[in-house]
Amino acid sequence: MEPLLKIKDLHVDFLSYAGAAHALNGIDFELFPGEFLGLVGESGSGKSLTANSVLGLLPRKNAVIAKGSILFEGEELVGKSEREYQALRGKKISMVFQEPMNALNPAFKIGSQVTEILKLHQGVTAKKARTEAVRWLARVRIPHPEEIMNVYPFELSGGMRQRVLLAMALSCGSKLLLADEPTTALDVSIQAQILRLIRDTTDSLGTSVLLITHDLAVVAQTCQRVAVMYSGNIVESGPVSNVLRLPRHPYTKALLQALPHLDGPIKALQSIPGTVPNLLTPPSGCRFHPRCSVAEKRCQADRPKLLSVAENHYVACWRESHHV
Amino acid sequence: MELKYYRYFAKQYPLTVVGTLIILIIGLVALVAPLISPHDPLQLHLADRLLPPGHTYLLGTDEMGRDLFSRIIYGARLSLAAGVGIVSIAGIFGTVLGSVSGFLGGKTDLIIMRLMDIMLAFPSLVLALALSAALGPNFRNSILAVAVVKIPVYVRLVRGQTLSVKEKHFVKAAQTFGASKVWIISRHIIPNCLAPVMVQATLGIGEAILIAAALSFIGLGAQPPAAEWGAMVSVGRTYLLDQWWYATFPGIAIFITVVGFNLFGDGVRDLLDPRFRH
């Protein structure tokens, strides 16, 4: 099957007075139609940057795609003009963000914000857009959608706003949804609901999802495949069942150990020693080596490549046998 | 500090440098006015009335044959005195009132702040006009009037600052040692409010000069024949259509001086405001 999204050797640099920071340092991954892929990592690892690169939403002044390619439906996105990106955004590729509280314009009613996108991308009449909007609000399980059309965002809870944003993102038939920590800012009780809603809705539409999160538990609940990021690199990727049960990369292992297990025996949670590296002066070789408990000499010298260790399971670590 | 630092600063904030230079030059001119002015600013040359700019009188003469160039040079003294005087008086009274208001709180705070609100209910120039008319039209009174009008700005600023300093440990500590209120306000509160007051004062000099000049222009500040720029424009207005230079040059002097202070003040604020610092 042809991948819907294929990212190859993507490098993104942040330019600052102190020099260029290689924030994405050669990312490779593919996303297939209808697939639900989790992108996991600590903050600063480059997950959001990856999603923003796909949509061409990098901060204009100081972030640039230095190298690499992003293919969407076989079409190169890198180098597209702002106008070309506009035609994609919201129509073919959509995004929902972390902070639903501030992601809706406070000055306009919900209805006007949902219909605006429908009118823009589908060229439908105001009346048609309105019935469509109500239908979409109902689809994301918003009670009394007609009434919600006429309220302002501040009158809604965070969970309701995230539903509205999801409706807006999906309403024009996007094939790819980039969900950037969509539940992080919500109450724990709402998080599971919203995740299930995203999964069910995209399932029935056949939309692919790239779910960005720092929470492996979320990945375990919703995703089919997972990619683990560390400091601008993907260090491990594979089917969720494999990666979470049999992690191969020391970083993934550490992440899993830092996770509380409700069903397991109670033991001290391990936090990973050290901090996320400074991108201006990243460690040489494998960027994880200063924090890695099993690092060897060559980890300092050379960067390991992402190589297959089992079917569909890839790891970038010198300690994996195939590198020997 | 090294030369390199200055060069970097000049490149980063060219307008601030221009402003600083303007202020330095005007200050210098005011300082050495008697040395550089070609004529006595008050000396009448009745035979040379309303002459256009030329060799003898660089910027022309007024209706009494006084040399405009010399008068403008001397005018720098009055305008600088007005600007600095106004912000100093307003700054000092505003700081005292604001710190007392913020520190004591309660009724004192309420009364002082309501009074400030009421003063702010008047447009600045209008209240300055009324006050300076009541005090009697002369230069000193016009400065007092503008200073009074500007007090609320400092009261509000210092009060806000006081409210946050008040909660700091060293103030709490001083209170537990039984320090008097006057001691705490003068030793702890006010010194910690000085930096923002200085910034505000620097930013306010330009406007102060403008209002003082405007009062002179409508006949409430310095009285002719004083060599005050606003008053000169005021008289020059009568001769505007035939002797354009009379009102034009003193006005340019005001404009340049105020531009200098505003550029400088802008730079000072940018430098001290952490949001603008890189």
Binding site: N105 | F122, A133, G219
Partner: protein, 338 residues
């Protein structure tokens, strides 16, 4: 809090502030000058006349009774009699009021529309030539002596170019339009008097542009700052991610929110304009309250000066209240709170 409660509370505050304003004008006119009686009749008056004057003014009574008397007079519309014109100050001010309103409204319209436009351009093309030019224009704007700017405009556009009239509200040969509102532009529009309309608009150009120019800069800077802040917000990113074109994001999504804080300073701007009108009206011989008060100064016409001060402060306070009351209409979040 519901709307009527909010309005009632705001009106209560208004009454207090207005009382405070009268207290200030009272203090300034009765206490600060030392001897108002001498001020009224001049330095050469003999003691007997002075004493009689003091009694007539009630100055022999305690200060708080004087204040009550003053208030009582104000409530009955008594602002005293102008020394210069010998007419009641209130009547004088009322007759000059429309001219001042017309001038400040035009200045306001100019400052707000161009100010918003410049601020918008400046924020959109941040750190470009446009932005730097606006910044310099803003600094020059707050640094220009308004009275001198007016004179320079007169020299250029009236004397040398001859494009625009330099004084008054109408050509002296044209009859004023039928009095309806007192604003010549409005009145001549209503009565279809095209000649008066053209003349009154031409006469407005120089004074209102000069008066507005100073405020324009302030507004432009504020809109710029506000716009830059809004453009960084999450909902702008949402709009981008949904494929809404940049121009539409700026003019519809960002501008609407950026203008909300701008509205509050419109009230404040009005105060500056009313103050500035004193200078502008003097320079362009515009028959408004500002020119009236400057004419009164050389006569030390105290009742006129204080009457003017009181009326201007009242108008200013009222305008700020209206702005406060209108604010919720613009900002749905505030509306929800009330």
């Amino acid at each position: 809090m519901n709307t009527s409660k909010f309005v009632a509370k705001r009106l209560g505050q208004l009454v207090l502030v207005l009382l405070g304003v009268t207290l200030v004008t009272f203090l300034v006119s009765h206490v600060v000058p030392g001897d108002p009686a001498r001020m009224l009749i001049g330095q050469r008056a003999d003691e007997q006349t002075l004493a009689a004057m003091r009694q007539a003014l009630g100055l022999d009574k305690p200060v708080w009774i004087q204040y009550l008397n003053y208030l009582w007079g104000l409530i009955h519309g008594d602002l005293g009699t102008s020394i210069r014109t010998q007419r009641p100050v209130l009547n004088e001010l009322l007759s000059f009021f429309p001219a001042t309103v017309e001038l400040t409204l035009f200045a306001m319209g100019f400052a707000v529309s161009i100010g918003i436009l410049l601020g918008l351009l400046s924020a959109t093309f941040r750190d470009t030539l446009t932005d730097h030019a606006t910044r310099i224009l803003a600094i020059l704007g707050v640094s220009t002596p308004l009275f001198w700017l007016g004179l320079m405009a007169l020299l250029l556009f009236y004397k040398y170019l001859g494009w625009l009239p330099g004084s008054g509200r109408l050509d002296p040969l044209i009859n004023p339009p039928t009095h309806i509102t007192g604003l010549y532009v409005v009145d001549s529009l209503i009565s279809g008097d095209w000649i008066a309309l053209k003349s009154s608009i031409l006469h407005l150009v120089l004074p209102s542009l000069c008066l507005g120019y100073i405020q324009l800069a302030t507004i432009a800077r504020l809109v710029r700052a506000s716009m830059i802040e809004v453009l960084e917000l999450d909902y702008i990113k949402t709009a981008s991610a949904n494929g809404i074109p940049r121009s539409r994001i700026i003019y519809r999504h960002a501008l609407r929110n950026a203008l909300i804080p701008t509205v509050t300073i419109i009230g404040l701007t009005f105060g500056e304009l009313l103050g500035g009108a004193i200078l502008t009206e003097t320079i362009f011989a515009w028959p408004g309250m500002g020119k009236f008060v400057v004419d009164s100064i050389s006569f030390l016409d105290f009742p006129a000066i204080m009457g003017f001060t009181l009326v201007v402060a009242t108008v200013y306070v009222l305008i700020n209240m209206v702005v406060d009351l209108l604010y919720p209409l613009l900002d749905p979040q505030i509306k929800g709170v009330h």
